[in-house]
């Protein structure tokens, strides 16, 4: 290994990055835009759910129940005269569910031998929202039952209330865990997509032959590709963390040293994977597609950034253990929300270290100093 040669190669790579406007966009503009999209666009917290209401019974009792629905901060109620009207609104997606208070509601309520039913219909094509519609209407209904008993001076029917408390994230905002997770996706994009093109580009343009004809060694070649992109990646990571904390107000409770350590290990694996794909395919078109499928999509789907890993079937759960993004998501969510929790972080670092070693090692193996 010759340091002077390595320095010269790194300089060449850095110049190439700086001169190509598209790399700059990837490294500096894309992270900010992506974070803003994740921050504002992806939101699982249903507030102001549009729910329809049909009062087939217009008695005082029915109206009291309706009032409890109107009182819910989570629901935005629109009334209609018939079920059919709301059924069509549901098909169109104008409401995500509706509540029906049947004609005999107050009558059944008066008779001690009868149970007065209310009906909730949800739009099952949006399963997550449907769940929320059901839960919010149910809790309004429970509130109405308790209030009714209290106003009549009756002892309430045996009731148990759940008193939820969200640790780390008291207001249960999905943004607080989605943004740390989305940094993972951004880092995957920067790491794997950028590097997936670099070696293939040299092959396609024929500059690889020129490089191979020089006395450059395999290690120098690999390092000259890794070091500049590592620096670029770390810079983007810093931008991401800064935007998340200062602009999007997500609390960061960990330390920068740990962030740097976890970030470096993850970048190592992402850069390594990109380089490996680039080295193997030697074709930018295919390398880019492969990187999209091998790095980006698993980072979105299998990392646990939005989709719960524990709910996946065992086979897929087993696969997620092989995906570096999974560990980085856990580490970032923990660093942002909980702080330096070593039992969680050390495990993540161990796996990320192994993944980096694997991808970079494989790339070294596949790098041939020969023209076939």
């Amino acid at each position: 290994m010759n340091l002077r040669r390595l320095k010269a190669l790194c300089r060449k790579e850095a110049l190439q990055i700086l001169r190509d406007p598209s790399s700059n966009v990837i490294a500096f503009v894309l992270p900010v835009i992506m974070l803003l999209i994740f921050g504002y666009g992806i939101n699982l917290d249903a507030k102001g759910l549009r729910v329809g209401l049909v009062l087939e019974d217009t008695s005082v009792e029915a109206n009291r129940f309706a009032a409890s629905l109107y009182g819910s901060p989570y629901l935005r109620i629109t009334t209609a005269l018939t079920r059919a009207e709301l059924a069509q609104a549901l098909v169109k997606g104008q409401v995500r569910g509706f509540v029906v208070i049947p004609q005999d509601f107050s009558e059944k309520l008066k008779r001690p031998t009868d149970t007065a039913p209310i009906l909730i219909v949800t739009d099952g094509s949006e399963p997550n929202t449907a769940n929320f519609v059901e839960n919010f209407v149910r809790s309004s209904w429970q509130g109405w039952l308790l209030e009714r008993a209290a106003s009549r001076g009756e002892s309430p029917p045996a009731s148990v209330t759940l008193e939820p408390r969200f640790w780390f994230n008291p207001s249960a905002e999905s943004r607080n865990y989605l943004i740390p997770g989305s940094i993972t996706i951004i880092m995957t994009v920067i790491g794997a997509l950028l590097t997936s093109l670099v070696v293939a580009r040299e092959w396609e343009r024929g500059t690889m032959e020129a490089l191979l004809a020089s006395p450059v060694t395999r290690a120098e070649l690999l390092l000259s590709k890794l070091i500049p992109y590592y620096a670029l990646g770390m810079l983007s990571l810093l931008i991401c963390v800064a935007v998340s904390t200062f602009l999007l107000n997500v609390p960061f409770r960990g330390s920068f040293l740990v962030l740097w350590m976890v970030g470096s290990l993850f970048l190592g694996s992402a850069l390594g994977m990109g380089l490996l794909l680039s080295t193997v395919t030697r074709n930018q078109f295919n390398a880019a597609q492969a990187a999209l499928n091998a790095a980006f999509l698993p980072a979105v789907i299998l990392s646990g950034f939005i989709y719960e890993i524990r709910s996946m079937p065992a086979v897929i759960r087993a696969v997620t253990y092989l995906i570096p993004a999974r560990y980085f998501v856990t580490a970032m969510q923990t660093l942002f929300q909980a702080g330096d929790l070593w039992p969680v972080l050390s495990r993540a670092m161990l796996f990320l270290g192994v993944a980096s070693a694997y991808f970079i090692g494989m790339t070294a193996l596949k790098t041939r100093r020969r023209l076939d």
Binding site: S22, I42, T115, P117, N293, S311, L341
Partner: protein
């Protein structure tokens, strides 16, 4: 003229399918995503761990925990004995939520005074925790109803729930139709935009330009293969949805394919527009990616459009994927008719017209 376009299309298809690696990259990802997405991309809560810190020695809490352990959401119950263990189980993500029963739980329930259960949830996964809490609430309600029934009391009121279009709230119903839209998006953009950039980089684009083909013909030559590839991929996904995942297809196929035609046109417009400003494959790839990522994330697939701030919803109007997902899901699951579909369809027509005109103009400008 038709003959020239046909030759160009043939050439495009050959370029797409020329070698094994390229063919694999068009089909394998589709099959892989089809196999993995429906199982993985779910917000359902299953197989999770519920931790219980039970300070109550009575029978009521014991039976309640018994019932909770039978729920699909929780396959494992972790019994805790101290507040320290509560903290640890959440910190280390061993449990999604902890329920704490106070020492007087059973007694209070027996004497009909209001009782509370403390629930500690992992805020790092607040959506799943909220869903799990919803399940706990439903199980609790059922327990109380049964208890009333046992004591010969009739419940005052009850709640009946119907989930339309998807009775069991199966996530696959949401994912497979969305996949039709997402996968066709990826391949259309790749086929239109990246292929032009490749020709530019290899110098064959200039050869196309000096041939008697007009820019409009070249655009058609790039769009038709995209339509073919997207059509084949969509058909694979649709058939898998119906025959493998057993999702009932409610609507009309001609309506779906007809709308898909306009969707692909709108997308091809974006793809051509991107490629008209890029000179290298890396730039084109970046362009495709910068368009596709927001398009997918803001499409309503990961989270509903109505949860976004209003300004973003307006901006999202230009996102063809957002409209097409409404169409695919609407036709597939809800048997939406053409008049109901129109509000989602006309934006696609407008977007297609705008982007294709702009792309045509850009290509002509670069020529001159």
């Amino acid at each position: 003229m038709l003959h020239r376009i046909a030759t160009l299309i043939l050439k495009e298809l050959q370029a797409l399918l020329q070698d094994r690696q390229s063919r694999m990259l068009l089909i394998v990802p589709v099959l892989l995503q089809l196999a993995v997405f429906p199982f993985a991309a779910t917000l359902e809560v299953k197989n999770n761990t519920l931790a219980v810190f039970n300070e109550d020695a009575g029978a009521e809490s014991a039976e309640l925990v018994q019932r909770l352990s039978r729920a699909q959401a929780f396959t494992r119950i972790l019994y805790l004995n101290s507040e320290r263990e509560m903290r640890q189980s959440i910190d280390r993500q061993e449990a999604l939520l902890v329920l704490r029963f106070s020492p007087e739980f059973s007694r209070a329930l027996g004497s009909s005074s209001p009782v509370k259960i403390q629930a500690i949830l992992d805020g790092r996964r607040s959506n799943s925790a909220q869903i799990a809490l919803g399940y706990v609430g439903q199980i609790l309600q059922r327990y109380l109803d049964d208890r009333n029934l046992r004591q010969g009391r009739v419940a005052l009121s009850s709640v009946q729930v119907r989930h339309w279009f998807n009775p069991n709230l199966d996530y696959v119903y949401h994912i497979v139709p969305s996949l039709v839209a997402i996968i066709t998006t990826v391949s259309t953009l790749v086929v239109t935009s990246l292929s032009i950039a490749r020709e530019r980089e290899q110098g064959t684009f200039d050869q196309l330009l000096v041939s008697p083909l007009t820019p409009g013909m070249i655009m058609i030559g790039k769009t038709v293969p995209a339509l073919l590839v997207a059509g084949v991929q969509a058909t694979i996904i649709l058939s898998a949805g119906v025959f493998v995942y057993r999702i009932p297809f409610q609507g009309s196929l001609p309506l779906l394919y007809g709308s898909m035609f306009f969707y692909i046109l709108a997308l091809a417009g974006f793809g051509l527009l991107i490629s008209s400003v890029c000179s290298t494959q890396q730039q084109a790839f970046l362009g495709v990616f910068s368009f596709m990522m927001p398009a997918v994330l803001l499409s309503g697939f990961p989270s509903p459009v109505e949860n976004m701030p209003l300004w973003l919803q307006y901006l999202d109007w230009f996102n063809p994927l957002r409209h097409f997902i409404v169409i695919v899901k609407g036709v597939f699951l809800k048997n939406m008719s053409a008049p109901l579909l129109w509000p989602a369809l006309w934006p696609l027509l407008v977007i297609a017209a705008l982007t294709l005109t702009a792309a045509d103009w850009m290509f002509r400008r670069r020529l001159g």
